[in-house]
Symmetry: C2
Subunit: 311 residues, 2 copies
């Protein structure tokens, strides 16, 4: 097959985090944005060394923010998860794609008298409610079935003005038809995707179809493309900037996914650090077909702690 | 908003079927290829004037072929449907996308000892069996649920070498994970879509999410694109040509969908006739955003009968 040493040796051009560059990174960054799954925890298990690393960063005056595409939980539910793992994080430090969906409707002055049909989890319904909107569907429609007799007519609520789609392990034909009819038949109905991740960590041992699966299904039946509010879209960035008043060049996005986390950081103009504790392996990072290069990479976030202490 | 009369008057450049052109069309065509839903029937109701039109065409020595993207039925089940509506059609005259999926595996020498995982109806399982293959999944997996506890592991059959996806009103997370794991983890596993129609006629009064919805869901979770065997792919054409030995220029594809039927006919080099008795309205045909123009259009296939008799 010829000599392909040239491609095999074309390693990544990003830098491994080391004793010589970690100090500079820390000095030049005011806020660290962390993805959660694959960075802070894997499923329900905390990744080694996370608490002392976060504590060290806080002690150095760094702002910590947690940006997650997992829409099944609300910010409150996410904060509970942190607490149950022994990490003190407040709701206000969490930016989830469920929150992003509600905020998108708010900043775009979605009429509160209109309803929002949800394909996804309780977290979306909860964030909508906190923002003053009425979400219908969601977990409630998980056990609904359809009648497929010649003369049955599937009714849908004409006051639905938005459909929000996130990861949904209880996806069914009822929800697909409901969401499709709203988007296709309700004038002006908007189609929001919390995110388009191909996979989601529903259990610890495997990956499962992610929100990208359910979102694509609705794209397939409506032939419409969604507005994406989670990573890599930078929609959440304006909230972050308003809250912390830190320029994006002084932020560092830390994540395990190239096409969401690192791309999100780069899209927003942040510094970027890839950790290999989640879905991306070093060989994927170094594969010639990968075109997303973070500024730095390391095994896991506790390396920041270890390297600083050996500096 | 400016003067947009120029676009509003840009009507279709295809011809309405008329007394002056119907004779020429009939004389120059040896085989008529009909779509079924929206052309022959709507749901379970025969469209007016179909039996006498088909009979007249047969009496003039025309070959009749029925090419349907509906994968939920096998050819045998489709033939039964014709008979139940009072039309004599044999299995051999029917080319369904379920049959196309089985034939794709056959012509590509798919190893019969490997299994095929099916997201879709009984028709696919039946056609696979007739072709000597073992289909698993399908309707049997419609009531299966998933365990989403941290330590559960979802097992899948490593001997699955192909996943076939068609319209499936019993779509669920179990099937999506099963199909995704086969495509992602079984070496060389191929991904076949019966078709990618956005909508399907599951009941008489409405459209429902079609195979395009389930296919897109699997694309979303695997980030792979399928091999499409139904319309508008011309895969079935080689079987048609082998069987009837008629050049495609002497065939006329009659259908109600621009992006499947008419495109299929044009892709294969056939004459094309759009009927307005199904999903496409005259205004859709004439809309400036529509770029698929059939050679002829008419209200319904019985117009052929009426126009010939008034010629």
């Amino acid at each position: 097959m010829g000599d392909d040493r040239s491609t095999k040796t074309s390693k990544t051009n990003c830098k491994r985090l080391s004793e010589t560059n970690v100090g500079d990174l820390l000095d030049s960054v005011d806020a660290f944005l962390f993805d959660c799954d694959g960075v802070i925890w894997k499923g329900d298990t905390l990744i080694d060394g996370v608490p002392q690393t976060l504590e060290m960063l806080r002690s150095k005056g760094k702002k910590l923010v947690f940006v997650t595409n997992n829409s099944s939980k609300s910010r409150k539910q996410n904060a509970h998860k942190f607490q149950s793992l022994g990490i003190q994080v407040t709701e206000e430090e969490i930016f989830s794609s469920s929150f992003a969906a509600a905020m998108y409707l708010k900043v775009n002055e979605f009429p509160p008298e209109k309803k929002v049909y949800v394909i996804g989890g309780e977290g979306i319904i909860e964030e909508l409610k906190l923002a003053g909107f009425t979400g219908i569907g969601g977990p409630e429609d998980g056990k609904k079935t359809v009648q497929l007799k010649a003369n049955t007519f599937f009714e849908h609520d004409k006051s639905v003005g938005a459909v929000v789609v996130g990861i949904d392990p209880y996806i069914n034909y009822y929800k697909l038809q409901y969401g499709t009819l709203c988007i296709r038949e309700n004038p002006g109905c908007i189609f929001i995707a919390t995110n388009r991740d191909a996979t989601g960590n529903m259990t610890d041992l495997q990956e499962w179809p992610g929100a990208g699966c359910m979102v694509a299904a609705i794209c397939g039946s409506t032939q419409k493309e969604p507005i994406v509010v989670g990573k890599p879209s930078t929609f959440l960035m304006e909230f972050l900037q308003k809250k912390y008043n830190i320029p994006t060049g002084k932020m560092c996005m830390v994540g395990d996914r190239l096409d969401t986390d690192i791309l999100f950081g780069q899209n927003a103009g942040c510094r970027t650090l890839l950790v290999l504790s989640g879905v991306t392996s070093q060989s994927t990072l170094e594969d010639p077909s990968n075109h997303i290069q973070p500024e730095f990479y390391t095994n896991q976030i506790s390396d920041i702690f270890d390297l600083i202490n050996h500096e």
